[in-house]
């Protein structure tokens, strides 16, 4: 069930209305059943996998809390093995087997290990990471083990963030399911507006840009450098609008019911460095890696070489988290490299040319450089293969302003797409602020966004990019 589908529209109204009609004690069961229904709309049988991890981690949490020492650690390791095992089996098995086949082929042997004919469960990496977050936090003593099985299951399966995050922490989410949330007009308005804007980002911007991007990246050999450059810039905005649009709808849906999910994006393309970009992009994942990988590895509190190693390890894992493909690994590695270079350069620049950070030109240059680096890395993320990514980069090197532009968009649609991006940039910059709280403004704004979505939206039932992870 996609957020940009009528099925979700009907489902959301039913669940939200029932939520406020039934007593608080019954709400967890309503949300849990709804979440099961929501998940089963994708591939029904995979609910069993989700059930498996929920049961394992529920009992692991209780056992971890009630034991100490080595036993405690063993229960944590068992839980992590179960979670990572599911991830490995469904997401990485065939990838590893592919690489084994490649190596075996290199030595003239055939690979005897069979391939698995499976489809990746939707959002597996998201809910697995959220489940792992729970057991780790219980282990660290920062979260009490949840005794209510239904509430714990809801923590993993809460439908707004089940398939593409934000990856929540138990400290933020679990207690909210115990609390009573009466209907609040403030929550309703804030949530509905966030849903509307998320839908706008998805169907008006992301899915329109996707038509050009899919066309260009689908025929990289026939495309000119200029077409590929435009398509790559479009992709930067497509993936942002797609993913942040999803997050907005998720956060807004939960907000209406009084549940506050963590923010996942904060105008990332205004970042002035790669380091800052990762504080603004997919915040729930980057903080997950910071808390559970980077800091346990030593973080910044070790020698410069070790810090670099830690950074590379985190970004390599982040790349792998996104997908079982070398293109994602390279994407992650590139970000790791960028960060290391950035650290070196900033040290050097501060010594050689003291730059005033508030200088507008410097800020614009930094932002543009960061955006260019992020866009270059997205090429590997979007390209189907490493070879195709290299072809694109090769064509970008030989770019000419006289190249033919062929993106399956006419001049009007190309211009319209650019205007959409500009509007987004202006909105994200925070330079336009309107108080929409009064009903006389709120209702027309919602109606206007709905009309824009209907008339300018692309309704091709295109799946959200991050669902595949």
């Amino acid at each position: 069930m996609l957020f940009n589908s009528l099925h979700f529209f009907v489902f959301f109204i039913i669940v939200t209305s029932l939520y406020f009609l039934i007593p608080h004690q019954r709400r967890w069961s309503l949300l849990l059943i709804s979440s099961c229904y929501f998940y089963m709309a994708f591939i029904p049988i995979y609910i069993l996998i989700l059930g498996f991890t929920v049961i394992i981690d529920y009992f692991a949490g209780i056992l971890i809390e009630s034991t100490a020492g080595d036993k405690k650690r063993i229960f944590l390791v068992c839980s992590l093995i179960a979670n990572i095992g599911v991830l490995a089996a469904f997401k990485y098995y065939n990838f590893l087997n592919d690489n084994l086949s490649f190596l075996m082929h290199g030595i003239g042997r055939s690979n005897p290990v069979p391939y698995l004919s499976i489809i990746l469960p939707i959002g597996l990496s998201f809910h697995t990471f959220q489940a792992m977050s729970y057991t780790i936090e219980v282990y660290r003593g920062r979260q009490k083990a949840e005794r209510h099985f239904g509430i714990y299951a809801l923590y993993v399966m809460f439908y707004p963030q089940l398939v593409a995050g934000p990856i929540e922490r138990p400290q933020n989410l679990l207690h909210q399911f115990h609390e009573q949330h009466p209907f609040s007009a403030e929550n309703f308005k804030t949530g509905l507006l966030q849903i509307a804007f998320g839908l706008y980002k998805k169907v008006v911007i992301a899915d329109r840009l996707a038509m050009a991007v899919d066309y260009a990246y689908g025929n990289v050999q026939d495309q000119s450098g200029l077409s590929l450059l435009i398509a790559s810039v479009f992709y930067s905005f497509q993936i942002y609008c797609d993913f942040s649009g999803y997050s907005d709808i998720a956060i807004g849906s939960a907000r209406i019911m009084g549940v506050k999910l963590m923010s996942n994006f904060n105008a990332p393309y205004f970042s002035q460095s790669i380091g800052e970009f990762w504080k603004r992009w997919h915040i729930s994942l980057s903080t997950w890696f910071r808390d559970y990988v980077y800091i346990p590895l030593g973080g910044n509190r070790c020698g410069p070489l070790r810090v670099r190693f830690n950074l590379m390890a985190v970004f390599l894992l982040s790349g792998l988290w996104h997908g079982a493909n070398w293109t994602f690994v390279i994407w992650g590695t590139l970000h790791g490299f960028f960060l290391i270079i950035e650290k070196q350069l900033s040290l050097l620049l501060v010594k050689v040319v003291p730059v005033n950070g508030s200088d507008a030109i410097v800020r614009v240059l930094r932002t543009a450089t960061t955006f260019a680096a992020v866009t270059a890395a997205w090429i590997f993320f979007r390209a189907e293969t490493f070879e195709k990514a290299l072809v694109i980069l090769g064509k970008l090197v030989h770019i000419s302003p006289f190249d033919r532009i062929d993106l399956k968009l006419n001049a009007a649609e190309l211009l319209f797409s650019v205007l959409l991006i500009l509007f987004l940039v202006i909105k994200e910059s925070g330079s336009v602020k309107v108080n929409i709280r009064p009903n006389r403004i709120f209702i027309p704004v919602i109606v206007l966004i709905a009309c824009i979505c209907y008339f300018f939206g692309v309704f091709n039932q295109k799946q959200f990019i991050y669902f595949q992870f």
Binding site: L6, S17, A41, I45, F416
Partner: protein, 347 residues
Amino acid sequence: MKRSVLILVTSFFVLLLAVSTSNDVMEAVFNYRSTSSLLKSDKYFYGDLFGLSYLPRFKMKLDFATAEVGREKCTRPRTINLFVAGDSYLGEYYVKDHTPFCGVKSYRFLRVNLSEVGMVEPIKGETNLLLVEMVERDLRRYKDPDYLLQKLRIEDTPVKLTIRQLNAVIKKTFFNEINRHIEYNLFSYSCFTPIKEFKASFNFTFFKRIAGDVYLPPDTSRLLFLPTVDPLSRSSSFVSISDEEIDAIVRSLNHLHHYYTKKGFDEVYFSAIPNPVSVLYPGIGTYNNLIPRIQNHPGLLIPIVNIYDCFTSTEQDIYFKNDSHWNMNGFTLWLNEFNKILERRAR
């Protein structure tokens, strides 16, 4: 007061979801609304391709007037039992009973795309013919031998519920075409058509873009079903098809022929209806020649009703401009070809 409104809203949407979930109820809704003037939908009334695109210039009522013009006369006695396992090209808009068929006394139509296809049983002691008809865009299904077994229930395969099947059953029971059904129940009313037409016109005028699975050919004279044109789609006339796949399709068809003749049918025929784009615009891509390659395959044993050659040589307009199906001219040409075969059998 607020609570009562909330209960009312919830009840409405629960009912909507329940109706949209059930395939049987939706079929009843569809049948009811197709005859109701109050709840009429324009989705299929002006052609399925108009219903996908809502481009106002293609808003034309489909003409199914069964003019006898061009239909060749037949004087043979009616002795044949004709069974047709076909798709919408031979649906009830085109054929209502046995009368258009030469020498046919009884006619039974089995919709192969629907699940209620029963076992086809020939009538003992009489002439029984079976025609298997399918549009070109669906032909590649035949490369999978299981397709025949499932769709035509050729063999009494024991029911063994695997996880994959269970998954398919749940999906089909609770989530089959649910978005299309909700759209039909909520927004597919004549009163919404002007808004949809405005949106379609706006997008076409400014962006030269058509919504839905619709393609506008270079001469812009008609609409085509996009999956039959898009070379990346398996239904396309321009998707590359290997010789091995053609061999597999032919093997399936031969298997079908063998099975049903063994079962007691006097003859089994196969007819592939060309995609409109294959006949009208084969030059907008590289036509994969799916139908000619099957029909001219040296290993093909099943007799065919060849309409491809007839369609590609005729000057007549044989397809609707706003629908993916043939018009009555196209149907009549096909009928004449089939009746020539039936006439020989009725002697």
